[in-house]
Amino acid sequence: MTMYNLTTDQRVDEALANNFLRQATRRATDRLRNNKYKAADELGNWEEWRGAGETIRKHVIANLDYYLNQLIEQMEKRGVHVHLAKTPADAVGIVRKIVHEQEAKNVLKSKSMISEEIHLNHALEKDGVAVVETDLGEYIIQIAGEPPSHIIVPAMHKTRQQVADLFEPIAGHALSSDTPTLTRFVRLQMREQFLRGDIGITGCNFAVAETGSIVMVTNEGNGRMVSTLPRVQITLMGMERIVPSFRELDVLLNLLARSATGQRLSSYTTILTPPKHSADSDGPEEYHLVILDHNRSEILGDELFRTALNCIRCGACFNVCPVYRQLGGHAYGSVYSGPIGSVITPLLEKDWKKWGHLPYFSSLCGACSEACPVRIPLHDLLVKLRMRKTQSGHTPQVEQHIFKAYRYFFSREKTLRRVLRIGAHLQRPFVRNHRISGGPPPLSNWTKSRTLPMVAAKPFMQVWADLKNKR
């Protein structure tokens, strides 16, 4: 049974029972968060940088039609094949067609969240194409058949021994579980793949509208391999990944590297303005850009949620979220986890039945909004999503009944008094130190991990009436 078949409660129970996962998530998010603080401090006035990031992203999204059109014009002028995909199925179809036309057998991928979003690997593998994830973390979870558990560190939930066990059948011999051995194995293993690849598929951190350039950041160098060696390159981008020009790119690259890993710049920042010039001695000869909508245009048209498109996918909100830090990414059940995943998944997928739990994976503490380098009010969006879900009638029946009962009693003063009096009697067996603990379901769902205040022996309405009488 994979995590996709489990219910939300089952996934949460699994995560809570997995001590390694929880410790690893804590350790990784602590490290990433502290690195970010250091990197943010040394840049000077971080709030000014955040402010600039927010202004740039808002400006881009408010003018997305103009900038996207400019990007497409620039790309097509130079002979890049630009493909527009309304749905994930369209995007998969476009990539499959290119792969088929090229008679490609070996496809190399560097990290792309869009490819996860559209479930591309599965479709290509069904066509008999060998797809290799070349980012170490993505490679690990590809072999394990799991989705990423963190947007920046996708295999953070795996122990080194688990990684060694996954690599051993490929190596054909036992592997020591120390990190340098595992890294060396992947280097050697991947070298052959890089030289054999027919098509390279990459993601896109930013696309520069003015020049028609694609910007990619990686630390391992796999992004460079995938965008240099295969004859044909396909870049997958969400349609909101745009910056107007290099001027704005400076701010966003600084914010991205520092917020994601605490680096001043990632090890490799590559700016591609494809395709290669005819006399260039290397680089792909043919370049395809696939731009995905997948309900992003719906978000664009929804003023309540438009700011969700400002995200630069740095993962900083994951590292401060008390819910993510307890559970890791798999409990969410979605490709994008963490606070931003809880916001965008219901909006992209438009399926409350499947993703309605996500806006509740939050304590609404606001740490995510504070961490966001482009100041997306994430916790506010989560509250609004809860509202949207309720308005669409997708809240559980129990919850609907509870709120109906609440409305009924709170609009009838005498009945309410009577009920509170009864409640004060009924609660007695469960009251310890003036708090309610224990009790039968559904009360126990709450009290198993915390207490409730007891119903006061003398209700406030009575206290108020007595005070008035005394006067």
Binding site: V153, R160, T183, S213, E220, R224, R247, R264
Partner: protein, 229 residues
């Protein structure tokens, strides 16, 4: 199949207005940028940051300085590499004069990547088997310890990527304070080259238990020589 016009018009309608025909007014950007007062400081901070990332680096003022650094870093390894593979030292077509002359004095023969084979796939194999890639740089960034290289027909992107070691030369005057200054100059080029590679230290990953590991795909060892006039 969605046409570009339909796609863009769809977005404009979501934004509740017609598609703009004129470029939007750019936003004002005012952020505190990192600045040093002179080249000497920039060189020093650039090297300090390059070292912190795990790279090796030196400032050279003469060919003798350069010979000393190269010998200290590589000792007689290049001679042995060449014995095994005569294409072990792979380079751009043109390197700074001081570099050309040092390699010549040391009798470490450089293979020019662009001329190593007529076939692109063969060039990749040659680069993958080489021991050292040697390049120049177009810019450096002091704040992040970064070297920046534009692609062009006399160069080759694979030289700084496939060999396990990368040695880059950079003139001190090309080192800028920050990324903004480099991107400003890139912008002034008009159409950028097919690829601009910004490299900050060796290839690295922390994907297994957040344990830092060097050299997963790109070069494991990186060296930079700053040429001071």
């Amino acid at each position: 199949m969605t046409t570009t016009k339909d796609f863009i018009n769809g977005l404009s309608s979501k934004l509740g207005r017609p598609t703009p025909t004129k470029a939007p007014t750019p936003v004002e950007i005012s952020v505190p940028q990192y600045r040093l007062s002179n080249t000497e400081e920039r060189v020093s901070i650039f090297l300090q940051n390059w070292h912190a990332l795990g790279g090796k680096g030196a400032i050279v003022r003469s060919e003798n300085d350069l010979l000393q650094s190269l010998q200290e870093w590589f000792r007689d390894q290049p001679i042995n590499w060449i014995k095994e593979n005569k294409l072990a030292l792979l380079a751009w077509d043109m390197l700074p004069t001081i570099a050309e002359s040092a390699f010549s004095s040391l009798n470490w023969p450089l293979t020019r990547y662009t001329q190593s084979s007529l076939n692109i796939r063969d060039r990749y194999s040659i680069a993958a088997q080489a021991e050292l890639g040697v390049t120049g740089s177009d810019w450096g960034i002091a704040l992040s310890g970064t070297i920046v290289m534009n692609s062009n027909p006399l160069r080759g992107r694979a030289i700084s990527l496939l060999p396990p070691r990368h040695l880059a030369f950079i003139e001190a005057a090309k080192i800028r304070n920050n990324l903004f200054e480099v991107l400003h100059e890139v912008s002034a080029l008009g159409t950028p080259p097919a690829a601009i590679e910004m490299i900050s230290g060796p290839s690295r990953t922390s994907d297994i238990e957040m344990d830092l590991s060097i050299g997963v795909h790109g070069p494991i060892e990186v060296y930079v020589v700053v040429i001071q006039d």
